[in-house]
Protein backbone atom coordinates (compact mmCIF):
# COMPACT_ATOMS: atom_id res chain seq x y z
CA UNK A 1 0.00 0.00 0.00
CA UNK A 2 2.82 2.35 0.94
CA UNK A 3 4.62 1.19 -2.18
CA UNK A 4 1.56 1.90 -4.34
CA UNK A 5 1.36 5.47 -2.98
CA UNK A 6 5.04 6.15 -3.68
CA UNK A 7 4.72 4.65 -7.15
CA UNK A 8 1.60 6.66 -8.00
CA UNK A 9 3.16 9.93 -6.86
CA UNK A 10 6.29 9.21 -8.91
CA UNK A 11 4.07 8.37 -11.90
CA UNK A 12 2.67 11.91 -11.80
CA UNK A 13 6.27 12.97 -12.40
CA UNK A 14 6.47 10.54 -15.31
CA UNK A 15 3.30 11.89 -16.91
CA UNK A 16 4.78 15.37 -16.69
CA UNK A 17 7.72 14.11 -18.79
CA UNK A 18 5.31 13.52 -21.66
CA UNK A 19 5.06 17.31 -21.99
CA UNK A 20 8.80 17.78 -21.63
CA UNK A 21 10.29 20.53 -23.83
CA UNK A 22 13.46 18.41 -24.16
CA UNK A 23 13.01 16.34 -27.36
CA UNK A 24 15.26 13.50 -26.18
CA UNK A 25 13.32 13.11 -22.92
CA UNK A 26 10.03 13.34 -24.73
CA UNK A 27 11.07 10.53 -27.08
CA UNK A 28 12.19 8.34 -24.15
CA UNK A 29 8.93 8.96 -22.28
CA UNK A 30 6.86 8.27 -25.40
CA UNK A 31 8.74 5.01 -26.14
CA UNK A 32 7.86 3.72 -22.68
CA UNK A 33 4.22 4.89 -22.78
CA UNK A 34 2.63 1.83 -24.51
CA UNK A 35 4.21 -0.50 -21.93
CA UNK A 36 3.01 1.81 -19.18
CA UNK A 37 -0.58 1.68 -20.43
CA UNK A 38 -0.33 -2.10 -20.85
CA UNK A 39 0.96 -2.42 -17.29
CA UNK A 40 -1.98 -0.43 -15.92
CA UNK A 41 -4.44 -2.68 -17.75
CA UNK A 42 -2.70 -5.82 -16.46
CA UNK A 43 -2.65 -4.50 -12.89
CA UNK A 44 -6.37 -3.66 -13.12
CA UNK A 45 -7.15 -7.19 -14.39
CA UNK A 46 -4.90 -8.69 -11.70
CA UNK A 47 -6.65 -6.76 -8.93
CA UNK A 48 -10.12 -7.70 -10.18
CA UNK A 49 -9.21 -11.39 -10.32
CA UNK A 50 -7.51 -11.18 -6.91
CA UNK A 51 -10.48 -9.66 -5.09
CA UNK A 52 -12.72 -12.36 -6.57
CA UNK A 53 -10.23 -15.00 -5.30
CA UNK A 54 -9.38 -16.22 -8.81
CA UNK A 55 -5.69 -16.61 -7.97
CA UNK A 56 -4.63 -18.77 -10.92
CA UNK A 57 -6.20 -16.31 -13.35
CA UNK A 58 -4.36 -13.51 -11.55
CA UNK A 59 -1.13 -15.50 -11.84
CA UNK A 60 -1.54 -15.85 -15.62
CA UNK A 61 -2.19 -12.10 -15.96
CA UNK A 62 0.87 -11.43 -13.85
CA UNK A 63 3.06 -13.65 -16.05
CA UNK A 64 1.83 -11.76 -19.13
CA UNK A 65 2.65 -8.50 -17.37
CA UNK A 66 6.07 -9.85 -16.42
CA UNK A 67 6.85 -10.63 -20.07
CA UNK A 68 5.90 -7.14 -21.19
CA UNK A 69 7.71 -5.45 -18.31
CA UNK A 70 10.82 -7.60 -18.77
CA UNK A 71 11.00 -6.68 -22.46
CA UNK A 72 10.71 -3.01 -21.56
CA UNK A 73 13.31 -3.24 -18.81
CA UNK A 74 16.00 -4.83 -20.96
CA UNK A 75 15.14 -2.85 -24.10
CA UNK A 76 15.75 0.67 -22.75
CA UNK A 77 18.85 0.97 -20.57
CA UNK A 78 19.97 4.32 -19.19
CA UNK A 79 16.65 6.11 -18.99
CA UNK A 80 16.50 9.22 -16.79
CA UNK A 81 15.34 8.62 -13.20
CA UNK A 82 12.06 10.47 -13.68
CA UNK A 83 11.09 7.89 -16.34
CA UNK A 84 12.97 4.77 -15.24
CA UNK A 85 11.58 4.51 -11.72
CA UNK A 86 7.84 5.26 -12.20
CA UNK A 87 7.32 3.55 -15.55
CA UNK A 88 9.97 0.79 -15.73
CA UNK A 89 11.69 -0.31 -12.51
CA UNK A 90 8.80 0.31 -10.10
CA UNK A 91 6.11 -1.66 -11.92
CA UNK A 92 8.63 -4.38 -12.87
CA UNK A 93 9.66 -4.91 -9.25
CA UNK A 94 6.01 -5.01 -8.22
CA UNK A 95 5.22 -7.60 -10.92
CA UNK A 96 8.09 -9.87 -9.79
CA UNK A 97 7.08 -9.77 -6.13
CA UNK A 98 3.38 -10.22 -7.03
CA UNK A 99 4.31 -13.33 -9.02
CA UNK A 100 5.70 -15.07 -5.94
CA UNK A 101 3.22 -13.58 -3.48
CA UNK A 102 0.19 -14.56 -5.54
CA UNK A 103 1.72 -17.92 -6.40
CA UNK A 104 1.98 -18.78 -2.69
CA UNK A 105 -1.70 -17.87 -2.22
CA UNK A 106 -2.84 -19.73 -5.33
CA UNK A 107 -1.44 -23.12 -4.26
CA UNK A 108 -4.26 -24.84 -2.35
CA UNK A 109 -3.89 -26.45 1.08
CA UNK A 110 -3.51 -23.58 3.53
CA UNK A 111 -0.40 -23.65 5.69
CA UNK A 112 1.08 -27.13 5.54
CA UNK A 113 4.57 -28.56 5.70
CA UNK A 114 5.19 -29.24 2.00
CA UNK A 115 4.04 -25.74 1.11
CA UNK A 116 6.45 -24.28 3.62
CA UNK A 117 9.36 -26.27 2.16
CA UNK A 118 8.50 -25.00 -1.33
CA UNK A 119 8.22 -21.45 0.06
CA UNK A 120 11.73 -21.79 1.51
CA UNK A 121 13.06 -22.60 -1.95
CA UNK A 122 11.08 -19.96 -3.83
CA UNK A 123 12.10 -17.15 -1.52
CA UNK A 124 15.68 -17.74 -2.71
CA UNK A 125 14.58 -17.85 -6.36
CA UNK A 126 13.00 -14.45 -5.70
CA UNK A 127 16.25 -13.27 -4.14
CA UNK A 128 18.40 -14.34 -7.10
CA UNK A 129 16.08 -12.72 -9.62
CA UNK A 130 16.08 -9.44 -7.69
CA UNK A 131 19.78 -9.43 -6.96
CA UNK A 132 20.56 -10.35 -10.57
CA UNK A 133 18.77 -7.24 -11.78
CA UNK A 134 20.49 -4.99 -9.25
CA UNK A 135 23.97 -6.29 -10.08
CA UNK A 136 23.64 -6.70 -13.83
CA UNK A 137 22.31 -3.19 -14.44
CA UNK A 138 23.78 -1.55 -11.31
CA UNK A 139 20.18 -0.46 -10.83
CA UNK A 140 19.67 1.12 -7.42
CA UNK A 141 16.15 2.33 -8.25
CA UNK A 142 14.99 -1.22 -8.92
CA UNK A 143 16.86 -2.26 -5.77
CA UNK A 144 15.11 0.21 -3.49
CA UNK A 145 11.77 -0.69 -5.04
CA UNK A 146 12.18 -4.42 -4.51
CA UNK A 147 13.61 -4.06 -0.99
CA UNK A 148 10.69 -1.86 0.07
CA UNK A 149 8.29 -4.40 -1.45
CA UNK A 150 10.00 -7.24 0.43
CA UNK A 151 9.73 -5.35 3.71
CA UNK A 152 6.06 -4.43 3.11
CA UNK A 153 5.06 -8.00 2.27
CA UNK A 154 7.07 -9.34 5.18
CA UNK A 155 5.44 -6.94 7.66
CA UNK A 156 1.95 -7.43 6.24
CA UNK A 157 2.01 -11.20 6.31
CA UNK A 158 3.54 -11.39 9.77
CA UNK A 159 0.97 -9.00 11.23
CA UNK A 160 -1.92 -10.95 9.70
CA UNK A 161 -0.33 -14.22 10.82
CA UNK A 162 -0.05 -13.03 14.41
CA UNK A 163 -3.58 -11.64 14.41
CA UNK A 164 -5.05 -14.91 13.17
CA UNK A 165 -3.03 -17.28 15.36
CA UNK A 166 -3.19 -15.55 18.75
CA UNK A 167 -6.54 -16.03 20.43
CA UNK A 168 -6.16 -12.85 22.49
CA UNK A 169 -5.83 -10.68 19.42
CA UNK A 170 -8.58 -12.41 17.43
CA UNK A 171 -11.10 -10.06 18.96
CA UNK A 172 -9.47 -7.29 17.01
CA UNK A 173 -10.34 -8.86 13.66
Amino acid sequence: MLYRIILLVSQLGYLRQLWSPNAERLLAAANVAPYYVLNNIFVLAFTQLWIHSKFWGAEIIDIANLLSQGTLYWKYPGLPTAIHFPAVAGPYAWTISALFWNGAVAVPGGDNLSKRVVANIFIWVYFFIGQGHIVQRNDHQFGYAISLLSLCKYTYSNVTRLLTTHASTQLLL
Binding site: L113, R116, V117, A119, N120, I123, W124, Y126, F127, G130, Q131, I134, V135, N138, D139, H140, G143, Y144, I146, S147, S150, L151, K153, Y154, N158
Partner: protein, 63 residues
Protein backbone atom coordinates in the same frame (compact mmCIF):
# COMPACT_ATOMS: atom_id res chain seq x y z
CA UNK B 1 8.73 -32.64 17.87
CA UNK B 2 6.11 -31.38 15.47
CA UNK B 3 6.43 -27.92 16.97
CA UNK B 4 10.18 -28.04 16.46
CA UNK B 5 9.89 -28.98 12.78
CA UNK B 6 7.35 -26.18 12.28
CA UNK B 7 9.79 -23.75 13.88
CA UNK B 8 12.66 -24.87 11.66
CA UNK B 9 10.55 -24.67 8.53
CA UNK B 10 9.41 -21.17 9.55
CA UNK B 11 12.88 -20.02 8.58
CA UNK B 12 11.34 -18.61 5.40
CA UNK B 13 10.27 -15.54 7.37
CA UNK B 14 13.76 -14.95 8.65
CA UNK B 15 15.07 -15.53 5.12
CA UNK B 16 12.57 -13.00 3.81
CA UNK B 17 13.85 -10.40 6.23
CA UNK B 18 17.49 -11.21 5.40
CA UNK B 19 16.68 -10.88 1.70
CA UNK B 20 15.11 -7.49 2.33
CA UNK B 21 18.33 -6.47 4.10
CA UNK B 22 20.58 -7.67 1.27
CA UNK B 23 18.45 -5.85 -1.31
CA UNK B 24 18.69 -2.65 0.70
CA UNK B 25 22.45 -2.90 1.27
CA UNK B 26 23.20 -3.71 -2.37
CA UNK B 27 21.02 -0.79 -3.48
CA UNK B 28 22.94 1.58 -1.23
CA UNK B 29 26.17 0.11 -2.60
CA UNK B 30 24.86 0.71 -6.11
CA UNK B 31 23.99 4.31 -5.29
CA UNK B 32 27.48 5.06 -3.97
CA UNK B 33 29.06 3.23 -6.92
CA UNK B 34 27.02 5.32 -9.33
CA UNK B 35 27.90 8.48 -7.45
CA UNK B 36 31.60 7.78 -8.00
CA UNK B 37 30.87 6.67 -11.58
CA UNK B 38 31.91 3.10 -10.92
CA UNK B 39 30.42 -0.32 -11.63
CA UNK B 40 28.50 -2.38 -9.05
CA UNK B 41 31.74 -4.00 -7.88
CA UNK B 42 33.48 -0.61 -7.64
CA UNK B 43 35.62 -1.07 -10.72
CA UNK B 44 36.17 2.17 -12.51
CA UNK B 45 34.43 2.46 -15.84
CA UNK B 46 36.64 2.91 -18.90
CA UNK B 47 36.97 6.64 -19.49
CA UNK B 48 36.29 7.78 -23.05
CA UNK B 49 39.58 8.63 -24.78
CA UNK B 50 40.19 12.34 -24.80
CA UNK B 51 42.06 13.30 -27.96
CA UNK B 52 45.39 14.86 -27.13
CA UNK B 53 45.20 18.51 -28.10
CA UNK B 54 49.00 18.84 -28.08
CA UNK B 55 49.22 16.48 -31.04
CA UNK B 56 46.67 18.24 -33.17
CA UNK B 57 48.00 19.65 -36.43
CA UNK B 58 48.64 23.37 -36.22
CA UNK B 59 46.79 23.99 -39.43
CA UNK B 60 43.62 21.96 -39.63
CA UNK B 61 42.38 23.32 -42.92
CA UNK B 62 39.84 25.95 -43.73
CA UNK B 63 37.43 26.71 -40.94
Amino acid sequence: MKQLSLKVISLQWIFAFIIFGIFLVSSINSTTARYYNRSFFHRSRAEPEVPDREREPLLSGGE
